[in-house]
């Protein structure tokens, strides 16, 4: 029996700069950025005061008052993205399909915003170690559970198959989609609604990155705060958002005449087993993940027409992944366009991997590579083609995206036009 293959047939995005896949693609191909002074709390006094926030109104996005009350913001973002993705796919999740439809959502810090807000009340502003449970919100346990995003996406879409949340920190958005593809390949589902969501813009998350000096301090230039691969870079900028994809078994999609964006051709994750936050400059484990993903896809490095970089805007990351690309792709690393979108939409932790997968699928669909915004003075140690400032027309039949996160997680995913592969394989 031939291996079951997985394709993307629907995309939904809620990202800084606009709700919906259209506004998202418009922003990331424009060279503009959506980073700004934080408005969700008063950031005065914090080392970093900039983030990429979504101007998201859950009611306008179609959530009911009860859905809004019982969910944290990261769940609301995901429900809106999931609705758009399923609409885009044209699928009707009827009774028969429901049991064959799963959910796999990624999130790194899940309900942190609610957790912090509730903590402040229960401890009376941090005054007491012992808290007063009489003040706890009746929905607090559901805000707290990372799994609530999978449950709520299942409710939004009608899915009744295998459901879970993948929470591998900043690679969650890739790893959740990889998990979804494995569930389809195993035959446990024909469709999986998958992606990532995080809404981390709160004092505790900004503090987490402040105390280790990982965030940019360009507070006076919020739109230019994140500068991946630029020698003036000072660190990452937090973001929030969600991307949800409809993954479908290839034949299932073909039978119903679905629009197919791309195939998930291969994926792999590796741990660096080195340090919870540090990276070795050689990029060995990320290279290993890329090579394994390409091997699974039976693709040569030369078939990668676009690389979506992690591009978080820290020196450590930029050099780490540049080394990884050279190690895994060889000479081709110098020929292929490489770009990152975090300067534009921020680092939304467990969401961004899925947002970047959406960017890869859209790059293939439109034949356009999004630029690396804010890259004006290249770091001489990062000597690849990072597509600075302006989008580029470029035919993309095969693409690679990577992610790197705390805990040492290194993930890679490879996409290709499924038609080109089936020609090769039937021979």
């Amino acid at each position: 029996m031939s291996r079951r293959r997985t394709v993307i047939t629907g995309i939904g995005v809620v990202a800084p700069g606009g709700t919906g896949t259209g506004p998202f693609w418009e922003l990331v191909t424009s060279g503009r950025t959506a980073t700004r002074r934080i408005t969700q709390f008063d950031p005065s006094g914090h080392r970093c005061q900039v983030a990429a926030e979504c101007d998201f109104d859950p009611a306008a996005a179609g959530l009911t008052p009860r859905e809004i009350r019982r969910t944290d913001r990261f769940v609301q973002l995901a429900k809106a993205a999931a609705r758009e993705a399923v609409d885009d796919s044209g699928l009707t999740v009827d009774d028969r399909l429901a049991a064959r439809t799963g959910v796999a959502m990624g999130s790194a810090v899940a309900g942190t915003k609610s957790m912090e807000a509730e903590y402040v009340v229960l401890s009376d502003g941090g005054a007491h170690w012992n808290v007063d449970p009489a003040y706890v919100s009746p929905h607090m346990y559901d805000y707290f559970l990372p799994s609530s995003v999978a449950a709520e996406v299942a409710l939004t879409t009608g899915a009744r198959g295998p459901a879970t949340v993948v929470s591998t920190g900043c690679t969650s958005g890739i790893d959740a989609v990889a998990h979804a593809a494995e569930v389809i390949r195993d035959g446990a589902a024909d469709v999986v609604v998958t992606g990532g969501s995080d809404a981390p813009i709160s004092p505790i998350t900004v503090t987490c990155f402040d105390v280790i000096k990982a965030q940019s301090v360009y507070n006076d230039e919020p739109a230019r705060a994140c500068r991946p691969f630029d020698r003036t870079r000072r660190g990452l900028i937090l973001g929030e958002g969600s991307a949800v994809l409809v993954l479908e078994e290839y034949e299932h999609a073909r039978r119903r005449g679905a629009r197919i964006y791309t195939e998930i051709a291969g994926a792999a994750s590796r741990c660096n087993a080195f340090h919870m936050t540090g990276l070795k400059p050689d990029g060995r484990e990320m290279a290993e993940a890329i090579t394994t993903a390409l091997g699974e896809a039976r693709m040569d490095p030369g078939e990668v027409d676009y690389v979506n970089a992690h591009g978080s805007g820290t020196k450590q990351n930029d050099r780490h992944e540049t080394a990884a690309f050279k190690r895994a792709l060889g000479e081709h690393a110098r020929r292929v366009p490489v770009s990152g979108i975090k300067a534009a939409v921020g680092h939304s932790l467990g969401a961004i991997g899925s947002i970047e997968i959406a960017a890869c699928a859209l790059a293939m669909e439109h034949g356009v590579v999004p630029p690396t915004a804010n890259l004006r003075e290249p770091d001489p140690e990062c000597d690849l083609d990072y597509v600075p400032l302006d989008a580029r027309e470029h035919r993309v039949r095969g693409a690679l995206t990577v992610g790197s996160g705390f805990g040492g997680f290194q993930s890679a995913m490879v996409f290709r036009d499924p038609e080109s592969a089936s020609e090769g394989r039937s021979a």
């Binding site: 502003g125 919100s137 009744r160 949340v165 929470s167 004092p203 402040d210 040492g408």
Partner: protein, 402 residues
């Protein structure tokens, strides 16, 4: 490679025993680890009983640098992983680094650590917050620390589906084994027994207010009034059968024969639990009649227990198969609970003993199922079905065979 995933090592940290020998002795004898909450003053809380793990010697043997950078639960996970690797006679240096992966289930990361740092942030300002906060309290921390501690550079995973996550890690591990990874560390160790964590759990309205440790958690009992929270779980070593035999693994506890999962938002998740169990048996290629023992989810609330009994009686003829809930001795361990049930089921398969459900009265137990109550039961068992539900509609099932 056989394509069959087997479990070759177990590590346990539970309220009634740290380390497999101590835990298994306690469970077989029906010795509970539940007691009054001592970790903090819980007098103002609508819950009084929990399954706490007293400090164990193995925690003190961990590298000193881990102490300031980790939550207690992470250290328990590291202790369990160390035991499981020892039990399987695997020295991490002996296996190629990319051939060893880690997957854990999580619902709470390191919440006690998080509460402490939140207090600093809101009490005295962000500059006092620990530099380790960025990773010590998030959900991926156990997988990351186990990987670093043991030099494991293969696939990494973290799954969150509340209480059912522990079973899902076994399916994740099996996929990686089938794809060629030699050794997977899988399971879950979880718990939130700090003031804020327990307060959050009370919002779920699943906890028993009963202050008597012997009567607070009574699965399938007519007087069931909720569950109690606990901490701990289990870590399992999963390998390919041929690989395990070739390297001379000291034992094979059992095979991961089947896994199934489903989502069902209806209260109680009866249909979801049934579909998950059915899918797990189909995956194992076994009929329902092959099941020799069921390790139940055992929510300990009347409506939820009724739903599980409905799923079980739809799957198996009433009272034909023994059902047990040893978690009545540990409390519900979030994502650690189902992982611990897997370990317990494998020990039951090994020794031919079904550990009992404690607390529940034989006279009041639901008579539609054959609940093993009070005393352990000797039985020739070759196939175990482990069930788990996660809040919100998650259902998972695993089939283990000897």
């Amino acid at each position: 490679m056989s394509g069959q995933a087997v479990v070759t090592g177990l590590g346990v940290t539970a309220p009634n025993g740290t380390g497999v020998p101590e835990y298994w002795d306690a469970v077989r004898d029906g010795r509970s680890g539940l007691g009054a909450i001592t970790r903090f003053d819980a007098s103002g809380y609508p819950v009084a009983v929990a399954g706490e793990i007293p400090e164990c010697p193995a925690e003190r043997e961990l590298p000193e640098r881990l102490l300031p950078q980790s939550d207690r639960v992470t250290r328990l996970a590291l202790v369990a992983a160390d035991e499981a690797l020892r039990d399987a006679a695997i020295k991490p240096g002996d296996v190629p680094e990319y051939q060893m992966g880690v997957v854990t289930a999580s619902t709470s990361g390191g919440l006690e650590f998080g509460q402490r740092e939140l207090q600093k942030l809101w009490g005295s300002g962000w500059r006092d917050v620990s530099a380790y906060m960025s990773f010590a309290w998030y959900y991926a921390v156990h997988t990351g620390q186990i990987s670093i501690h043991n030099g494991m550079r293969g696939p990494g995973g973290v799954l969150a589906s509340e209480q059912s996550g522990g079973l899902d890690t076994l399916a994740f591990a099996r996929r990686k084994i089938r794809a060629g990874t030699t050794t997977m560390v899988a399971g879950g160790v979880d718990g939130t027994l700090c003031p804020y964590g327990v307060a959050i759990q009370t919002a779920g309205r699943e906890l028993s207010p009963c202050a008597d440790p012997g009567a607070a958690y009574l699965p399938f009992d007519a007087e069931a009034g909720g569950c109690v929270p606990g901490e701990g779980g289990a870590i399992l070593i999963v390998e390919d059968r041929v690989g395990a035999e070739e390297r001379g693994a000291p034992q094979i506890y059992g095979a991961v024969a089947g896994h199934g999962a489903a989502f069902d938002p209806e209260p109680g998740c009866a249909d979801g639990l049934y579909r998950a169990a059915r899918a797990a048996l189909d995956d194992a290629g076994l009929p329902a009649a092959a099941v020799d023992v069921v390790f139940a989810d055992a929510a300990g609330r009347r409506d939820l227990d009724d739903a599980e009994v409905a799923a079980l009686t739809r799957l198996l003829a009433p009272r034909t198969v023994p059902v047990t809930a040893p978690k009545s001795m540990t409390g519900r361990l979030l994502s650690g609970g189902a992982a611990l049930d897997l370990a317990t089921a494998l020990l039951a398969l090994r020794d031919g003993v079904i550990p009992p459900t404690t607390g529940t009265s034989p006279g009041r137990a639901d008579d539609r199922i054959d609940l093993v109550v009070g005393e352990p039961r000797a039985a020739g068992i070759g196939t175990a079905l482990v069930l788990a539900r996660g809040r919100g509609g998650f259902a998972s099932a695993a089939v283990l065979t000897r």
